[in-house]
Symmetry: C2
Subunit: 366 residues, 2 copies
């Protein structure tokens, strides 16, 4: 991999490097974005990527490293960024301001920001006199930049949150033994990862069957079992009741907590209800930006079957159960050609990782 | 990782390097073995590992590279090997001869060869005047050498072949859709790997149900679909009949072929029958050294349940089938604590790999 100090040429090579940087981030409410700063001779001066909601955007991250490391005049440098810089205030300031403040005068970006109100960064920078160009479509395609966030773009265009699904199973695809025992199939490292994902999202969806069977708390906790600062809103989907003493009703300190019951099996009905809700979402915004589907098998299958799952984490334990329920129940699929096809997701620097004794498989929807 | 040219000290460090080398090999009828040659000052002169049956043993491989690369007197060098050098003629010559011919006078090994007739290499080398020592148990444990081949040692001691299992499934653990369609769940790269494994083994076991449902040829083929030089012997397990025109009856050129039908559901009965059989095994020897279990679910589960599977390759496609049979059917397991526990296998340089769109997970029995 090209590292700072090496020289790169053309437009595809620096943008490809920015794409590889982008893959260090994780999927979610915000897109994967990578950025690179090069000197006039092509030397890589700094790289950066977006680490997730509430953190510095890719270009700001690269610019900060550039300012810290660079000894050559900034006016001669070029900023390469996989997505058009933003011009809006979210949980962090606009990237256009950081670029203007950096003194960089030349910006190349690959994909235009598809969302009107948040976009317009290129126009703003041009009005300030910067040399800003979007890469030609063939160079963008060759760099891989247009493949980074297809589902995020789709979700933004349709106004829906990004949807992540979790599946914790044995190596033979079981989520419980024949007698229903399921704690714990996967190990502590897998649960830690799952809790980190919970803390990234605005809402966690479970079915009434899961509430009845497992009575989950649906909080995001650290390795010591303490609640993390940002807690998702529990959403229960289904027509059965939720017991008055269900664990998910209690907040971090045992007090009351906002939660939502959607008396409908249709995932779209859940999304509609969340969009209308006046709940205070943990990551801000009038609507939830990121929703996690935890199960059980019927709920997970309904979201997958509806084409609404953007990514899925599969935590797979090195166990053979040989019986018991599987994690996905899609009776409407009867033959192989109807299978829901996903792909290995290269975000977070690779689709495959070891989590203690378990394996984490990261899939993305096409 | 320590590479040739770097210096290492003590006894644990060179042996740990030999262990890491060993993990480049694949499991099977022969053990994982790694070897390192060091100069008197600890400089690593050469490394090698055993690539499988019929290929040079680890120490021979390391010695060949040493002879090719070394410019310092060979008499000052030390050979480090994870397993006691062999003193027998198998499909390759004895390692002791290669060591004596190399001029190396100092050998350190970790694990003693547990099998009388094939072992004795250390004694032979000492009789020839070499300085040969086995590492102390704590150094062997610290290097990881004793964890390389526990199941291989067990199999040798009990006189049974090494047993590999295959499982090709969707990400939700299905081996076919609800209507039984199963060709092809996994992709071409997975099938190529599976065929390479077939060519390593002496026999492939399938159930009568698989013969009836899929009519497999059970040959090892290359990417172009041509039969590989070494072909496994088909073994059908179960009480149902095998049709007169079953594809597995035909050899590579369409002629007749040795195959075995064992009218018994017990895996041990299959092993007993194979041990008695006078068939000419593709890799030589009076008994099969390596057996592959291909399925279906009942057969695979019987072998796993009997504790007779030494390693398992899981080929997992990025598909959700949501229904249809799973690959392992163990009705006798009813609760989580009865699950068959495996572990990720670090042989072949890692338990996780991408095979095209699929994932290959490599598990070993404890």
């Amino acid at each position: 991999m090209t590292a700072p100090g090496n020289a790169i040429a053309g437009t595809v090579e620096p943008m490809s490097l920015a794409v590889r940087e982008a893959l260090g981030g994780h999927r979610g409410a915000n897109p994967l974005v990578g950025a690179v700063v090069t000197a006039p001779d092509g030397t890589v001066l700094a790289t950066g990527f977006h680490r997730g909601r509430g953190t510095a955007h890719a270009e700001v991250s690269a610019l900060e490293r550039f300012a810290a490391a660079s000894r050559i005049p900034q006016a001669g440098a070029t900023l390469w960024v996989t997505l058009e810089p933003c011009d809006h205030f979210g949980s962090t300031g606009p990237c256009t301001e950081a670029i203007l403040a950096s003194g960089i005068r030349r910006v190349r970006y690959a994909v235009a920001d598809p969302t009107g109100p948040d976009g317009g960064g290129a126009a703003r920078l041009r009005r300030s006199g910067l040399d800003v160009e979007q890469l030609a479509p063939d160079a963008t395609a060759a760099s891989g930049a247009d493949g980074l966030n297809p589902r995020w773009v789709q979700g933004r265009e349709s106004g829906r949150p990004f949807v992540t699904a979790h599946l914790a199973q044995s190596l033979d695809g079981r989520v419980a033994a024949a007698d229903g025992t399921s704690q714990w199939i996967t190990g502590i490292e897998s649960r830690r990862h799952a809790h980190a994902v919970r803390s990234r999202v605005d809402a966690i969806v479970v079915g009434t069957g899961t509430v009845a069977a497992d009575d989950p708390r649906l909080t995001a906790r650290n390795a010591a079992g303490q609640d993390l600062p940002l807690q998702p809103v529990p959403v229960v989907q289904g027509r059965r009741g939720v017991p008055g003493d269900a664990a998910l009703r209690s907040g971090p300190k045992g007090g009351p907590r906002d939660w939502i019951h959607v008396l409908d099996h249709e995932p779209q009905a859940v999304l509609d209800r969340l969009a209308e809700s006046r709940i205070s979402w943990p990551h801000g915004g009038a609507r939830p930006g990121h929703v996690l589907i935890e199960g059980g098998p019927t709920v997970l299958a309904a979201w997958l079957g509806a084409g609404l799952v953007d990514e899925m984490f599969v935590y797979q334990a090195p166990l053979v159960l040989g019986g018991g329920p599987t994690g996905l129940d899609l009776p409407q699929l009867t033959t192989l050609t109807q299978a829901v096809s996903l792909q290995l997701d290269l975000a977070e620097n690779g689709a495959l990782s070891r989590l203690g004794e378990d394996v984490l498989l990261h899939y993305a929807a096409h």
